[in-house]
């Protein structure tokens, strides 16, 4: 019971706008819930309410066995938070930042210092420990911010879009760090705009739109619903379209889609890169020449298209469309 997150009927209004419209969440001890949605869906609002940074207009919430609205300071003692914008002080060094957080968690002078060094080592920041944070890269700031959230070894962790704005390499690094953390049994609520990220890290996913949950389930269930991955290919000469179609048909989950004027075909598959290799092997045997081939994983946009019949519309902010979801093997 120690490390659970429970919220029911959360409501938050900003004037006319309903940021949260009766959101229910439940994260059992030691599991990861991925809160998936576009910009402005209410993800950050939900995290800010659960972490006592924002007051809700309605609903109930309990974190680590403590009522969030009744006893916010007891909640703060038990949680770690890392937000979308790194909450670190630019003019302090990495060490000074973590030391300060440790002191404010009331670890005492000696333990705060020890813990700061320990975390800097663990997050590969030891070399930069005594440099002001303003000299850090975006990925380093995020790691430092995450380290700040872990100073007091919280039982419940909230991460609000931990990899938004990071380059693909830093994103993979962050995922490794998070996986290691999760292996230690931390309860985590993670928000993200990337289906792939939720897929990689979360036990359960809640898709949120306009402050409401529009779907929940495991990553597999969700992907089954949206149709999973697709192999997409372009043949070298149009005469081989039919041959390519019959090869694809042998691995395809449903009908193979053909776009004749583009010489393109696509088919839903399971098994990711393995399925792609199998397709390539069979095409090679059949003597089909290719101009382009790739594996396309479903994106948040695909999820939204399936669930709501509409594209994921960012209500605010940058409409960034990360293209690393498409793995080109051309």
């Amino acid at each position: 019971m120690e490390g659970t997150i429970r919220a029911s009927g959360l409501v938050k209004r900003y004037g006319e706008v309903l940021a949260l419209d009766g959101l229910d969440l439940e994260v059992p001890q030691g599991t990861v819930l991925g809160l998936l949605g576009p910009n402005g869906a209410g993800k950050t609002t939900a995290v800010r309410i659960l972490t006592t940074l924002l007051q809700a207009d309605g609903g109930r919430a309990e974190v680590a066995g403590v009522d969030v609205f009744e006893d916010p300071s007891a909640v703060r003692e038990r949680i770690g938070v890392s937000g979308q914008y790194a909450a670190v002080d630019e003019h302090l060094t990495g060490f000074e930042n973590l030391d300060m957080v440790g002191r404010l968690y009331r670890l005492g002078r000696r333990r705060a210092r020890l813990r700061a060094r320990e975390l800097l080592d663990r997050f590969d920041l030891a070399d930069a420990a005594d440099r002001p944070v303003k000299t850090y890269s975006g990925g380093m700031r995020r790691r430092l911010d995450l380290a700040g959230a872990l100073v007091a070894e919280p039982t419940v962790l909230f991460l609000d879009e931990p990899t938004t704005g990071l380059d693909p390499r830093s994103r993979l690094g962050m995922w490794d760090i998070l996986r290691e953390l999760l292996s230690q049994g931390t309860t985590l609520l993670l928000t993200t705009q990337y289906l792939e990220e939720a897929d990689q890290l979360a036990d359960e996913i809640v898709v949120i739109d306009h402050g409401r949950a529009i779907a929940r389930g495991t990553a597999d269930q969700l992907k089954a619903q949206v149709g999973g991955e697709r192999v997409e290919l372009v043949v070298r000469v149009p005469e081989q379209l039919d041959a390519a179609r019959s090869v694809l048909q042998t691995v395809s989950l449903g009908d193979v889609q053909v776009t004749p004027h583009a010489h393109a075909l696509s088919a839903g598959v399971t098994g990711g890169a393995d399925a792609l290799m199998e397709v390539l092997r069979r095409l090679d045997t059949a003597g089909v020449g290719l101009l382009d081939v790739g594996l396309r994983r479903p994106t948040l946009d695909d999820v939204f298209l399936t669930l709501t019949g509409q594209h994921a519309e960012p209500a605010t902010g940058d409409p960034q469309a990360p293209d690393e979801h498409t793995t080109e093997v051309a």
């Binding site: 006592t52 940074l53 703060r76 790194a86 909450a87 670190v88 968690y105």
Partner: protein
Amino acid sequence: MHRLAWALADGHVVAKRNIIKIVRVPEVLVFVLISPIMFVLLFAYVFGDSIPIPGVDYREFLMAGIFTQTVIFGATFTGAGIAEDMQKGIIDRFRSLPMSRSAVLVGRTASDIVYNLLSIAIMALTGLLVGWRIRGSWLDAVGGFVLLLVFAYAFSWIMAYVGLVVPSVEVINNASFIVIFPLTFIANTFVPLENLPGPLRTFAEWNPVSAVTLAAREAFGNTSEAFPAPDVWSMRHPVAYALLWVGIILAIFVPLSVRRYRRSGS
């Protein structure tokens, strides 16, 4: 530990962070220290001979006024610092920690005492160079400096509140000019009260800035028998009147600011 003790302990951690920033961004400090030097030199040499004070050299009369004006302007720094923090991600970190809810404000107002100490020291040195002297006892002089710092501390809390309400550094700098200039000019800071016309003079006599200035002036021995304080209670008991204002300001703005900080972001 008691809540107040935690507020002080956490405030100390936050103050330490602010002081590290003073060292890391020395440009700010340079400007903080140059403006009082400029004021001392300008007033001493531009007005020096045109404002006669019976029994006292104008430059000696002037210094207490400059001290008071500068420490009050120093409070602008508190407001700007709070506003800057509120705009940055770091405030979310602070607000998500189980720390005292008043520590950010306690720490900021405390670290700004360091700024004021530095600017008073620089001004005193500049003053000594242009002919200012402490004519009374050193103990009284120390008392005068302490009163200046205490008043500046109280004023910091007013600006801390402004910094929470108007979270923009530019607005704070401009808005504080509009308030602080009249407040420090309609007083005995740069001219004797006798020189002011009727209503302004009454305002000036009850202006706490006048009380702080007069108290400092008396503490430094920069007054004269030939030039007695006006016969109103505030000017007869400037220390008591100044401390009364310190109490009133703190009683109003400490709880007001802390409550505002707690609710910020909601």
